[in-house]
């Protein structure tokens, strides 16, 4: 099909043709087109349907403020709903679909809403859908939800990649129109680091849409030359296709660069978009202004557009919405559009100007003091009804109507830190006010300077002032300097269904109803009518809504209030904020030194924080995890097992005050710990709850190696640095983490000594006398490799932990397995580890849940009262030491095969089962292959005094009730003979 509405000229490459599809139909376009301009060129005006009434809608604007012309772009997993046709850069093979219509764009079933519009007025649903009560959940609400939304997600994973990056500069210039370009030239020539960002793919802003000259160049040529000079400067970075989305604290700006959206497909490894955080002390906002509409009856038909947009389409994109165009304006700018379109051979059916003193023109008719009172045309504008100054009416046959109600400076960024714009009577618009983001200043139309000359000058001055540049400003080209001439005019009196917010279907009538019902502040107006809450954030509607509210309230616009704007300036794909942090890369993965070996062994891994740990090591023939875990436990307790415990946090504590420091950090005493000895340490938060537990090994008078739980390694280190720097600043203590530096393995079981002796170098004696329980020391293994040995036990068996530099961890594990064959050694994972610690009654993560005290865990005696230690005072509070506080107990079902459920609650054997009679809960539950019974640990009111009692373990959530006996938490070797053997 030919481009019937294609005009001459423009910044498109007519030598190349691109083909694209809209709603399945094929059209042609040229490089330099947007989807919007291409559709117009192909005489397509109907593009979508409105949100509530499903009214036919076309394009209103030519920019990112577009409320109506939205499509679903691309197909399959790449589908992008609600994409503005006005910002889609044309590429060959582009496919787009209209949205929010069924079965088709022309015949949309839900258009019936329009006929019932009387019932769907603002806030209607708050007053209705309540009878009968039951119908709301079953009928009304699901019905409303089904109608929700405009475009649809593909519901498939987004295949594209996104990057995030950081850039630093001395001056960030936001917007590359006349003000922005001039500012960049000024700063760039001065040699400072400049970033010039603009959302458009061609820099120049309105200069690309106008026909007037700058000096002896056309506006667009001047822009092109400025861009050429800037790109030749090494200290200037031009960022086209980049929207600065927000001004955040202390000079951090968010910016989204669309690196792949203009391509048919994004090259492998390259991002679709990049989220830049731009750090700068100074920023200059040159975001220009947005033309605002006038509300009149049926002002939402396809073909009714902003006058400046028609001008942009004609001058930049060589396209027109129709060959017969009318203009409705309250200011001189509307006349510009008429003149430019006329010059391009488009018929101007008339310029309707509300002003009696409107300028005259001899090329076409100007209807002074006239107003548009209605329009016709179901799927596109056909006729415009005009009321003339003398009261008579005229009908203009027009396929398009350009509307100009004046211009609103784009002050959004100035509001991002709660700054409020102020009203300017001369402009009849809001301009930047107080409390701008620190370091941000404003130039050009965004600051209310509406002429081209003014923009150039304020851009140059803005840059010079921001950077405190001295010396003469660069020469400015000659440019138009017309004063703003307009009569504020918001809506045509007597109109009813006149749209203010076209996307959300908010009409003049709705705004008046909002006032009538008492929703009179801006915030109430927005929330009650949804004015300005659509995807365009009210860029073309907020001020008009305010003006109408002001009129009915008999107040001035600033008295009614101002809307402030929030980031982002335009909507941003959620994927862009996520960047690469998704899928497997969501968080970094930490691997243990024995990981590759464990993988070879076919280990099953589990996420523990960011670590991957071996959960169990299945052998051939083992079909259920329990088989593997039971075997690992039996083998370890019967002979010897090895477990990678590198993930435990290790902190090197040195200094002459190291011992006293630990004395403060731990609830139990450390001052008297002998060199070569290890001690269990209990760490409390200042509020008296148990924070973490671990061991501290005294390697020398002034040197300890402290271990933490895997989960708390980072927070414990932070806590210790806090104590060191903030509480005890003069203590001679130095801290550093060594978690990763050492591969540490637990070697546990009756034969652990025999196994270790085989790899330990001969000069080291492992006998019980030479290296008793809780001993520690530096040793060498396998012929001289430095290693650390600790005789500590989590399993309750005779056990050691041996540590070597991580790079040798893999080899050491293989060696232990080889040397251990004669003892039938087994590796064991976190499951077996868990089973054995429960059998032994060691509290771990599920008991150290942040709400338990030492007393709760049966460790009350460890909290020394003879010294100052963090948490000891608040652990004494009344409610924490009452007789019936929770105490750690063992739990054994009366029937060994009965399941014990962690998270189950404990009730007395008699009496009601409800929250009021709750006695406690099960923290951990495992199957003990040693006791051949399910067992658990639990916290029970006054539990220590209730051993032997029978209780009911209930878990209604998992439909379980089991009779259990409270027993000592030490199921295995309560006397601890094994670990001292």
């Amino acid at each position: 099909m030919t481009q019937t509405n294609r005009l001459n000229g423009g910044q498109i490459d007519r030598n190349t043709s691109l083909s694209f599809k809209f709603d399945g139909r094929s059209y042609t376009a040229h490089p330099g087109d947007t989807l919007a301009s291409a559709l117009l060129a192909n005489d397509v005006r109907l593009i979508g349907r409105s949100f509530k009434y499903h009214r036919p809608r076309g394009l209103l604007t030519a920019g990112s403020e577009e409320p109506n012309g939205m499509v679903e772009l691309r197909t399959g997993a790449l589908k992008e709903p609600n994409t503005r046709a006005t910002t889609i850069e044309m590429f060959d093979g582009l496919e787009a679909k209209s949205q929010n219509r069924w079965p088709s764009l022309k015949f949309d079933a839900l258009a019936v809403n329009d006929m019932f519009s009387n019932f769907l007025s603002a806030g209607f649903y708050y007053k209705t859908f309540m009878w009968p009560a039951a119908f709301w959940e079953k009928l009304y609400e699901p019905m409303i939800r089904r109608a929700a939304g405009l475009g649809a997600l593909s519901q498939e994973a987004d295949p594209d990649e996104y990057d995030k990056g950081f850039r630093h500069c001395d001056l960030l210039i936001i917007g590359a129109g006349p003000a922005g370009l001039m500012a960049a030239l000024t700063a760039g020539r001065a040699g400072v680091d400049v970033i010039l960002a603009d959302e458009d793919f061609t820099l120049g802003g309105r200069l690309n849409s106008e026909t007037f000259a700058l000096g002896d160049h056309s506006a667009s040529d001047w822009a092109a030359q400025a861009v050429a000079e800037l790109s030749s400067l090494p200290n200037v970075r031009l960022m086209p296709r980049t929207t600065v989305i927000g001004a955040f604290d202390h000079g951090i700006y968010g910016a989204v660069e669309r690196t792949g959206d203009h391509l048919a497909s994004v090259p492998a490894g390259k991002p679709r978009q990049i989220l830049w955080r731009i750090y700068t002390q100074k920023a200059l906002l040159c975001a220009g202004a947005t033309e605002r509409p006038i509300a009149f009856e049926n002002n939402d038909r396809p073909g009714i557009m902003m006058a400046s947009a028609l001008r942009t389409y004609a001058n930049r994109f060589a396209a027109t919405a129709s060959q017969r165009v009318a203009i409705f304006t309250n200011n001189d700018d509307g006349h510009r559009t008429a003149a430019d379109l006329h010059a391009k051979g488009v018929t101007i059916t008339a310029v309707v100007d509300v002003r009696e003193d409107a300028p005259t023109c001899y090329d076409y008719e100007v209807l002074k003091g006239a107003q548009v009172i209605d329009t016709k045309g179901r799927h596109g504008l056909t006729f415009v009804e005009v009321a003339l100054a003398d009261g008579s009416t005229r009908t203009l046959e027009s396929g398009a109507l350009g509307v100009s109600g004046g211009w609103n400076p784009n002050v959004h960024m100035t509001c991002h830190q709660r700054g409020r714009p102020v009203w300017d009577d001369a402009l009849a618009a809001f301009v930047p006010g107080e409390n701008l983001p620190v370091g941000l200043s404003v130039a050009g139309a965004a600051n209310g300077v509406m002429s081209t000359h003014g923009a150039l000058q304020s851009g140059a001055e803005g840059a010079a002032n921001a950077l405190e540049l001295t010396g003469v400003l660069p020469d400015l080209p000659e440019a138009e300097d017309a004063p703003v001439s307009q009569t504020p005019f918001w809506y045509v009196q007597g109109c009813k269904r006149a749209w203010v917010d076209q996307q959300n279907d908010v009409t003049v009538k709705d705004v008046k109803l909002s006032y009538q019902e008492g929703f009179r502040s801006v915030e109430h107006l927005k929330r009650y009518t949804t004015l300005g809450m659509a995807t365009d954030q009210g860029k073309t509607s907020n001020i008009t809504g305010l003006a109408i509210m002001a009129e009915v309230a008999g107040k001035s616009i600033p008295e009614v209030g101002t809307t402030i704007f929030r980031p982002p300036y335009t909507p941003v794909p959620i994927g862009t904020f996520a960047g690469r942090m998704k899928g497997q890369e969501f968080h970094p993965t930490r691997l243990t030194p024995s990981h590759y070996w464990a993988k070879e062994r076919g280990a099953v891994f589990v996420e523990v924080g960011n670590w991957l740990r071996a959960q169990w090591f299945p052998l051939p023939g083992e079909t259920h995890w329990r088989q593997s875990v039971d075997r690992e436990v039996r083998q370890t307790r019967a002979s010897v097992g090895v477990c990678d415990c590198t993930t435990l946090g290790k902190i090197d504590v040195q200094g002459t005050d190291a011992a006293e420091f630990l004395n403060r950090i731990y609830a139990n005493g450390f001052a008297k710990l002998a060199v070569g000895k290890t001690r269990y340490g209990l760490m409390l938060r200042e509020d008296g709850m148990v924070m973490d537990d671990g061991t501290a090994a005294r390697m020398a008078e002034d040197h300890f190696v402290v271990t933490t739980t895997t989960a708390n390694a980072v927070s414990v280190y932070r806590h210790m640095e806090f104590a060191r720097q903030c509480l005890y600043p003069d203590m001679d203590v130095q801290l550093i983490s060594t978690t990763e530096a050492w591969a540490q393995y637990a070697v546990a079981g009756p034969n652990s000594r025999k196994l270790l002796q085989k790899i330990l170098d001969p000069e080291f004696d492992l006998s019980n006398d030479a290296f008793p329980f809780m001993a520690c020391g530096n040793v060498t293994v396998c012929g001289g490799l430095r290693a650390r040995l600790f005789r500590i036990s989590f399993s309750g068996e005779l056990a050691y932990e041996i540590a070597v530099p991580s790079r040798y961890g893999d080899a050491l594990m293989r060696r232990l397995m080889a040397e251990g064959e004669e003892f039938d050694v087994t590796p064991y994972g976190t499951e077996a580890l868990g089973v054995m610690r429960v059998e032994k009654g060691h509290a771990a993560g599920s008991e150290l849940n942040g709400t338990t005290t030492a007393l709760n865990l049966g460790l009350g005696k460890m909290v020394s009262k003879k010294k100052d230690s963090i948490g000891s005072v608040l652990s004494e509070r009344k409610a924490l030491v009452e007789p019936d506080v929770l105490r750690l107990v063992g739990i054994k079902p009366l029937q060994p095969e009965d399941k014990v459920t962690a998270g189950g609650h404990l009730m007395n054997s008699e009496g009601p089962v409800d929250a009021a009679h709750d006695q406690g809960y099960v923290t951990s539950a495992v199957y003990s292959p040693i006791l051949n019974s399910n067992i658990g640990l639990g916290l029970v009111k006054n539990g220590a005094e209730r051993l032997g009692e029978t209780m009911r373990l209930v878990s209604p959530l998992t439909d379980l009730t089991v009779e259990v006996e409270l027993v000592s938490a030490h199921f295995v070797d309560p006397e601890g003979e094994r670990l001292r053997a």
Binding site: G165, L591, Q654, G655, E740, W742
Partner: protein
């Protein structure tokens, strides 16, 4: 001499090498590390002994210095010492001897994994990875930063050569982050 065979942080017996668009990313296992932290009141002695050890002025905040044995700033009165692994596997002991009681010394060799980037346009890669103001990252700088949520040291050797230190256990994730950024930027 012991008979255990080391593996690199990425799990190989030989270091990983990747090249994208003229930039090479090399895994560097051949480095020994030890941390030095001055004891209370011994800050000056520590600095003096350190200068002697690395045969260069003690690196200031955010800098590195030295030759065969070099040091970079890691925190207030704290430094990390680098030396070739083959000749200095027992680096911590050597440093401790040099420092005496003036400082606490801790072996850090296998706490870290190192990747070196060599080639042109490395800044284009870096700006996708960390917040550092690259205008201030000149040869001799040593900065700590976060790369894809991994705490790292970035050392600028020359404009065409950078070293990255990250936690050994996260070597795979850090390596992936570096390569992704290289493919994206170059």
């Amino acid at each position: 001499m012991h008979d255990l065979v080391a593996i690199t942080a990425l799990g190989g017996t030989d270091p990983h090498v990747d090249t994208v668009g003229g930039v090479t990313c090399t895994e560097v296992p051949g480095v020994a590390l030890a941390s030095v932290a001055a004891r209370m009141g011994q800050e000056d002695n520590t600095a003096t002994s350190l200068a002697k050890l690395i045969d260069a002025p003690t690196p200031d905040i955010g800098r590195w210095a030295g030759t065969t044995i070099s040091a970079f700033w890691a925190g207030p009165d704290q430094w990390m010492i680098e030396a070739p692994f083959d000749t200095h596997e027992a680096l911590a002991e050597q440093v401790k001897t040099a420092m005496g009681d003036a400082a606490s010394v801790t072996e850090q060799t296998d706490g870290w994994t190192r990747f070196d980037l060599n080639g042109d346009h490395i800044p284009a890669v870096l700006e996708l990875l960390c917040q550092l103001d690259l205008r201030k990252l000149d040869p001799g700088s040593a900065a700590r930063c976060s790369i894809h949520h991994i705490g790292c040291f970035v050392l600028c050797r020359t404009p065409e050569s950078f070293s990255f230190y990250g936690p050994r256990s996260s070597a795979g994730s850090l390596h992936h982050a570096l390569l992704t950024a290289m493919r994206s930027a170059l």
